[in-house]
Symmetry: C2
Subunit: 459 residues, 2 copies
């Protein structure tokens, strides 16, 4: 039995549900700096690639099979696939798919992966209602703002307690986004947020199972459903988020309301979104980044004698597997990450396949990596020296890895990542057209072309 | 900002998820005392009546309209209605409908309303899979056992924190029930419970809005979906319920595992289920009960001079409205409850309609009621004395009201309650046949006849 702790209720919270509803319903279209709008395009592109890339994963196959039991209408597209199902099912499955590789976006302040719930709900709804690209972008920016601000208010206590914060805040973010796309008024939007506030989804114990990506998927479906219920007059508490027995006070012991209200409509949380260049835990990223740089300086599996890696102790604690046996173990091996950087110049999902992990050159290269702990080096940094057979010595120190907020992936990096995910599914030509259509999203009159390019043709 | 409280995690919890999965998958059909099976029939009958009775309420209309946006397949019946929709939508809407009048069942130890989530999921699935009545009853008893035992483990801390315990435990109960009905094996059942463990639904702040009945509905849909995902190979943590970052430890500060494991398969929580005779808060029930008894002794609105009511202070604190103005206020008026008992001999949903509350004879009768506080009287009791115009004095003291565990509604009472709910919707003849079919549920080869009787004909 645990200790019975009492949390002091806050009976004087500001009217967060109403404030967010007014913001979502009334904020002008494109009412932000062009950099915010560009970040929304990047967020959308990155999310779309992750969804397409994982579309043949067993978690997606299983969830499609389950949803087919409902004989759904063919309302909405599934990324990378031929099948069409109803909007609610598509929101769920695209949400699952886009988070399956753990390769999607990260709002670093809260570790929320915001696009999964919000974009998955929006895409399904927008296809059905024939919304414009501009409307989708507006709703995406506003929905992500709602989710991340609620996350800011609760983090870290809420996360520490056990909640997967992507799914718990995602239902509300998706509801806000769908309410915006549907053009609901303030009261209806308040109700949509309120209905979604009863549906936070997911616990960290599920990490490593298919239920982890279910969390953004379930949140997308919950948000979409909540907005549609509100549209038809369904009611919820107007203070569902902030009341003493409402969502936030029930699932967190920290509730810093100012995180929700400060600079609302001026600062947009999507500006702090980041994208993973490598399909593994964030602590290995600086080491891989350094090895890619060494590769670009001429280091190869053949000319390398040994690689000396100095990292913070946390890196080896979390990812110290010297001889991984399969792809999943490879994701927890900084040695494998370094080898991928040298051999391939990248570490996407492909570089963590079982057969790559067991390839002789990779095994040989991992054996050449000597890792030592140095806690004077930051957790987000790595110091790597390559000793070549010809006596040369090359040194790279990465203070902020590619993909961090300080050293973001460029648009070209994002395109390359997208191609890596999408080319094997949709082919190079279709992938290239899809990328161009994504960058042009704000000008697209509807999503028809984008969705045609993001799915397999049934012909 | 609230105090940052730390809850000590329990790293040595028994394997609750596995234990419950083995129980649900392996417990023999009809493996309990006949009284348990009879209670399951009573639970089912009571739930069905509540669902039929509320089928024209605006919350049901709104939720059907929202679900129709998905152009759902016509897989499953909606209680009392003509429309058919897909299984997931039917689970949601029948769950909403059955809890809309707050007139359904109560597991008193936890205040869980267990049938809403479990029976709503089962009915939709059973119709589609053509399951037998016996299979439905087995799954209902086991699913309710899972939900209520998890509730026992967390109550009261979990409820005090803000959670609507019906929806938070209901997802898991519904998943267990559907897993049983689908014939899933132990591992699949463990996964179904695990997926549902990421979907606890609902906060108490929503009480008084449509989102309150959404909680059992959403839980029914979540449970059904979880079982279908597990059937198709979707995975979850095998310790999703009990792990330090699993469901129970994340949403409660009390986790008494013995409540889940003790006498599992011997004691069935459905045995402790109760049914409300009156469509209002439980504290008024003893007073209404007493007044119905006085009516049966000859008291009428015409021969009554005054009614002296002695009750615990809590009763007047919660339900002390002397002059209610509408039906909703009537539910918070012990005076109106007494008047309904004298005038109608009952206090079902009809007796709380606006026009009844404002009828002259009801207004006159409420004026004759004199309520006084006496804290020597138990909260669950009432002491009522009627002084008649001819000088007669009649006294009734109710120690345990009709509908309590000690003084349960008889089968005849349940039938009368059902008729009150169903007659206006389905008519007397169909209602009577439906009641007979419910009592015979264990012998029904499938639910076709029952569902035909529980819905409106489209002809």
């Amino acid at each position: 039995m645990a200790i019975n702790t009492k949390v002091e209720a806050d009976h004087n919270a500001p009217e967060i549900t109403k404030i967010l509803a007014e913001f979502v319903a009334n904020h002008p279209s494109n009412g932000w700096h062009p950099s915010v709008d560009h970040e929304a395009h990047r967020t959308f592109l990155n999310w779309l690639g992750c969804g397409i890339g994982a579309c043949q994963h067993e978690s997606v196959i299983a969830s499609i099979a389950a949803m087919q039991e409902f004989s759904p209408a063919q309302q909405a597209s599934l990324l990378g696939r031929i099948e069409r199902i109803d909007m609610a099912g598509a929101a769920l499955i695209n949400g699952i798919s886009s988070h399956t590789f753990d390769f999607d976006d990260t709002h670093l302040k809260t570790i929320i992966h915001p696009a999964g719930p919000v974009a998955s709900a929006l895409l399904a709804l927008a296809e059905h209602t024939q919304a414009s690209g501009r409307q989708v972008l507006d709703a995406l920016i506003l929905g992500i703002d709602v989710a991340c601000r609620i996350g800011n208010a609760m983090y870290p206590n809420h996360y520490d307690r056990g909640w997967h914060i992507t799914g718990s805040t995602g239902s509300v973010g998706a509801a806000a986004a769908c309410a915006r796309l549907l053009g609901l008024n303030v009261i209806q939007t308040q109700m949509a947020i309120g209905i979604a506030a009863s549906q936070p989804i997911g616990f960290r114990e599920q990490f490593g199972t298919m239920t982890k990506p279910f969390h953004p998927g379930g949140a997308a479906r919950a948000g979409l459903t909540s907005a549609l219920l509100a549209k038809h007059g369904f009611t919820a508490s107007p203070t569902a988020l902030e009341a003493p027995r409402g969502m936030i006070q029930s699932i967190s012991t920290k509730f810093d309301w100012s995180e929700i209200t400060t600079e609302l409509g001026q600062r947009f949380e999507i500006s702090f979104n980041t994208y993973k260049p490598f399909a593994c835990g964030i602590v290995i990223h600086p080491s891989i980044d350094a090895c890619v740089q060494l590769r670009n300086q001429g280091v190869t599996v053949d000319n390398l004698e040994r690689l000396e890696l100095r990292v913070h102790s946390l890196v080896l604690e979390l990812t110290g597997k010297k001889t991984p046996r399969d792809g999943l173990e490879g994701k927890f091996s900084v040695y494998h990450g370094c080898a991928a950087g040298i051999v391939f110049g990248c570490a996407a999902e492909d570089e963590f396949h079982d057969d790559i992990v067991n390839r002789p050159d990779m095994v040989a290269l991992r054996a050449k990596v000597l890792a030592t702990v140095d806690d004077t080096i930051d957790e987000a940094a790595a110091d790597v020296t390559a000793y070549l057979k010809d006596g040369q010595k090359l040194h790279v120190r990465v203070e902020r890895a590619i993909g961090s907020l300080e050293n973001p992936m460029t648009d070209k990096h994002l395109e390359a990542k997208f191609e890596g995910l999408s080319n094997p599914i949709l082919g190079q030509s279709q992938t290239r057209q899809l990328i161009q259509t994504c960058w042009d999203l704000k000008n697209q009159p509807h999503l028809e072309q984008l969705l045609k390019l993001a799915t397999k043709s049934s012909l």
